[in-house]
């Protein structure tokens, strides 16, 4: 099975977010960048399927120069090649729609049975790119996948997806698009030799213009703000656990009025 995996580079989840000077975005100086955590599950699944049934794994990433680090991490996990849509200007203002247009243009020339994305990118938290990609490429999209199995003839995927309060099992002919949720697998840590090998794997670099598309974002961020800093409140005192519990219950009932 040949797979394409869409990987995005995002700020480390440890990052304390600050706003830039004009309040239209975040301050990026000093941020540590990582592969979007959900994309790690996507890469891992594609690599496992390759290890089981053969084929190749191609990464596609839209992002500036530094996004190459995320691409290299995916190659070190076992992906074979990558397309880096290196277009800082486009990437900076791309919304999920514009992103999907660029990714679709890069993907349509590749060979694939499955496209894996992450459930969402933990910077914009949109959870949209895969669904738009599905529309642009006219492929079915199954989101929030926690189990992926290939049929014996390799033509169909049988996947389990999370739904509210449970699971649904979906069968879908390939090619199709899947979004990876935590639980799908346990992403591997790349070994040093794999990291070294990844540096030699081929990465094709293209701009959005090279891909022959253009796309204006369909949504605009007009401003950003930080949530009010939460302050430490009251410490509940009491002689023992029973007294503390009683004082807490009283405070929640009479003061906070949440019960």
């Amino acid at each position: 099975m040949n797979s394409v995996v869409c990987v995005k580079q995002v700020p480390d989840t440890e990052t304390l977010i600050k706003l830039n000077a004009d309040g239209t975005g975040i301050e990026t100086a000093g941020i540590k960048w990582i592969m979007n955590p959900f994309d790690e599950y996507a890469v891992e699944e594609a690599v496992r399927q390759k290890e089981k049934s053969g084929g190749a794994v191609t990464l596609v990433c839209l992002g500036p120069d530094q996004a190459l680090d995320a691409i290299r991490s995916g190659l070190a996990m076992g992906a074979d090649t990558a397309v880096h849509i290196n277009d800082a200007e486009f990437a900076a203002k791309a919304d999920p729609y514009a992103t999907a247009v660029a990714l679709a243009a890069a993907i349509k020339d590749l060979e694939y049975d499955a496209i894996f994305c992450g459930k969402q990118a933990v910077d914009d938290d949109a959870g949209q790119v895969a669904s738009i990609l599905g529309e642009l490429l006219d492929l079915p999209v199954i989101t929030i996948v926690i189990k992926f199995e290939l049929s014996d003839d390799g033509k169909t995927a049988i996947v389990t997806r999370e739904i509210e309060g449970g699971h649904a099992v979906i069968e879908v002919p390939l090619p199709a698009i899947f979004t990876a949720q935590k639980g799908l697998n346990e992403p591997r840590y790349a070994s040093l030799p794999q990291i070294m090998k990844a540096k030699k794997k081929p990465v094709t670099v293209k701009t959005v213009a090279d891909l022959g598309v253009s796309a204006e974002p369909m949504t605009v961020i007009k401003g950003m703000e930080l949530p009010p800093e939460r302050q430490a409140g009251k410490m509940i005192e009491g002689a023992d656990a029973a007294a503390k519990a009683a004082a807490l219950a009283k405070a929640l009932h009479e003061e906070a009025e949440v019960i």
């Binding site: 989101t143 099992v169 069968e171 369909m218 950003m224 409140g233 503390k244």
Partner: protein, 323 residues
């Protein structure tokens, strides 16, 4: 007056609370409000939406809509959108809504805004506020296309009884089956009466301090004492230890929640956990380490052993609730 179409999700034979929230919000924004429900044997539910502001309710009812599947639902909702010609579409950002919204928007050739927590009108356009970075920042966003398609986080708006005309109309949708490639083989839903974490008003969450999965019973008992709007949550450490299922995880790579009351027991307060719950109205931290970072975000802090405090708290809540 904007023409607003609301998708009202049905689950387990009932219209979900989130649907009433967005219907009444649509009405409050001054819209002419149409609602759409899709499912099997759902026609009888439609009228209720009129109580919360729907002027017209479109019903798509048929066996082919028994289980949710993206493509047929997108086709049905796009068909209704074609009848209504709305300038704005609201969908509750439930698990189903998160799947449906971007797919519908793409089908209508417009962009969409996910998981909005606040809305206002600027002329005929709706402007949304939404969290990014799991709530470490908030963005004000405008969708440029027509219609504007938005998913709205549950619990962001109250349910208000504002009567709309409430006319119900059944719609026949002839599906383009050539586009329906996926098949639902089975659906397994737990019969638990607990609300989903994203919709619960009270969450009692446990972390590594819970020591094992068995001990989560203590949190369940406390949640039960609070009543049917309460449920259990967990930190990633507890999920990764295998003590509780991933669906319970709160945080940047779990669920983002904003209940009225969030109780964190045996949770240290890592940045990824805080991101998912710091918009809770009231936060309580129970931790034996007085230096735990969670205390700096908590409205009420209790230093102590959770195994002593939680059972006592359950007794106290039962007393207050008169159980």
């Amino acid at each position: 007056m904007p023409e607003i179409l609301v998708y009202a999700e049905v689950q387990k034979g009932e219209i979900k609370k989130g649907a009433f929230e967005i219907t009444s919000k649509a009405k409050a924004l001054g819209g002419q409000v149409s609602a759409c429900i899709i499912g099997k044997d759902v026609e009888g539910l439609a009228g209720e939406l009129g109580k919360y502001g729907a002027d017209k309710i479109y019903v798509v009812d048929g066996p082919e809509f028994e289980n949710y599947l993206t493509e047929p639902y997108v086709q049905a909702l796009a068909h209704v959108a074609g009848l209504v010609n709305p300038s704005i579409i609201f969908i509750s950002a439930s698990a189903q809504g998160k799947d449906l919204t971007p797919a519908l928007a793409a089908r209508l050739k417009v962009g969409s805004i996910s998981d909005c927590v606040d809305l206002s009108m600027e002329g005929d356009k709706v402007i949304a506020k939404r969290p990014m970075f799991a709530g470490k920042a908030y963005a004000t966003v405008e969708a440029l296309g027509n219609p504007q398609v938005l998913s709205i986080r549950p619990n962001s708006f109250g349910v208000e009884e504002i009567a709309g005309a409430g006319d119900v109309e059944k719609v026949d949708v002839s599906l383009d089956t050539s586009k329906i490639k996926a098949v639902v083989k089975s659906v397994e839903v737990t019969e638990s009466e607990e609300p989903d974490q994203t919709e619960a008003e009270i969450i009692v969450a446990g972390g590594r301090g819970m020591d094992n999965g068995e001990n989560f019973k203590l949190l369940e008992e406390l949640a039960h004492a609070f009543g049917p709007t309460a449920t259990v949550g967990a930190s990633r450490a507890a999920v990764d230890a295998g003590w509780i299922e991933h669906g319970y995880q709160i945080g940047q790579t779990g669920k983002t929640v904003s209940p009225n009351l969030y109780i964190a027991a045996g949770i240290s307060g890592a940045i990824q956990h805080l991101a998912g719950m710091n918009t809770s109205k009231v936060i309580v931290a129970i931790n034996k380490d007085p230096e735990a970072p969670i205390f700096s975000k908590a409205d009420y802090g209790v230093v102590g052993d959770l195994f002593e405090i939680i059972p006592k708290l359950t007794e106290e809540i039962k007393k207050i609730k008169g159980q």
